[in-house]
Symmetry: C2
Subunit: 239 residues, 2 copies
């Protein structure tokens, strides 16, 4: 299987990087073809702008999605984006590995999504969710955070259910482009626990990775067949 790990932490000695390294070694040992996009090491530029295109369709009025569609048709994506797009298209499983910043991905990873999930190729118009470009592939997120699990308890945690906070990423980005999304792997309270506890988390991750390529999806996203032209759910008629 082809596996792409997109990693977004500025410190190579971080626990987040250790989770990435664990995934690389475990999945490689299983015989998979593992590619890594280490966004900080790549000096990935997350700013979506004119420099993302070798030439513009409309230099007088810059519309990012329209330029993506034009560029992907005409081989005009910048080399950095083209390379990432090819990795994305090649993979059967995508792992996003990052520290949670403001209940979301760090800007460098947000930019990877903004720029590499290319309109016209990966999605577009009604080619979303189960009709999108990456249907058949799997994705999972692996994240580290300072907070503790009980702070995200759906009933009485101060921030509320983490699944709700992750929805823009899990459904709005990964599900939207067609991925089957697996259960998130969450390393809680990382800066405040012992080295022994961190080692334990790496072991749990390593064990989970043994079967991750055959895991079933956790989430159910909208099925376009159940929606009308205006993308509202079709009411089932009573008989």
């Amino acid at each position: 299987m082809n596996i792409l790990i997109v990693h977004a932490h500025p410190e190579a000695k971080s626990f987040c990087a250790a989770l990435k390294n664990t995934a690389v070694s475990e999945l490689t040992a299983q015989g998979h073809n593992v590619e890594v996009s280490d966004l900080y090491a790549l000096n990935f530029n997350p700013v979506a702008d004119k420099n993302d295109f070798i030439a513009l369709e409309n230099p007088d009025y810059f519309n990012y999605a329209l330029e993506q569609r034009h560029a992907v048709e005409n081989n005009l994506l910048s080399p950095q984006i083209q390379t990432e797009l090819e990795k994305l298209q090649r993979c059967d499983l995508l792992l996003l590995n990052f520290p949670l910043y403001w209940f979301s991905v760090p800007a460098i990873l947000k930019g990877w999504i903004d720029k590499v999930f290319v309109s016209g190729k990966i999605y577009g118009g009604r080619r979303i969710y189960n009709k999108a470009g990456l249907v058949g592939k799997k994705a999972a997120i692996c994240l580290t955070l300072g907070g503790q699990e009980q702070m995200f308890n759906a009933n009485d945690g101060i921030h509320g259910d983490i699944n709700i906070l992750l929805k823009p990423l899990i459904q709005g980005a990964l599900g939207y482009v067609g991925f089957d999304v697996l259960k998130p792997f969450i390393a809680w309270h990382v800066p405040y626990i012992s080295d022994e506890q961190r080692q334990k988390i790496l072991e749990v991750w390593k064990n989970r990775l043994k079967n991750i390529t055959t895991e079933n999806k956790l989430y159910t996203f909208p099925n376009l067949d159940n929606y009308d032209k205006s993308l509202r759910k079709i009411k089932k008629e009573n008989k």
Copy 2:
């Protein structure tokens, strides 16, 4: 009143920029002191890394939040971040003006949040929500998107309730640092409507801006007084 508008669109002739321009002219005409951080024009660097600090507390192990705390105490934030932080602290009302990318902010604006909401100054430990650094200030978001309102209908829209999708931004970032957050202003279906319809949206926005500085908050965020040390809600005892 001091108002800071943070704008994040790569095309100066865009409708998103027209919304920003409307806010600048209307709020200036009202006599407010309006500052604008046009992130693309500023060439704002959204990548959180070592370059954000003039000197590091721990050059051997880079922890972003710890370096923020050290830097803000010792005047070691990079000039670009220090300037933005001072604008943020000066403002009574913050407007974030952006096109919705993947049900969230564009990477350049995510980076502004990652870097300018400085740990130790703006929040930290239990200094969150109603105990955070920006309590007493107001914030609102103004966003443009291609989608139509019915796609986000909480009952039958394909993507689900937009308030849920915006929760990481509205509660997880703005509420977390203490802002009272006003109702979002959302310009739907922007690329597909007529110029006349777009003009109408600008008028609605202009009218709303007439009283925005005295608007009441829309959202209720957690009150730390109701949470125990582990940040779980304290159960009210039955008498």
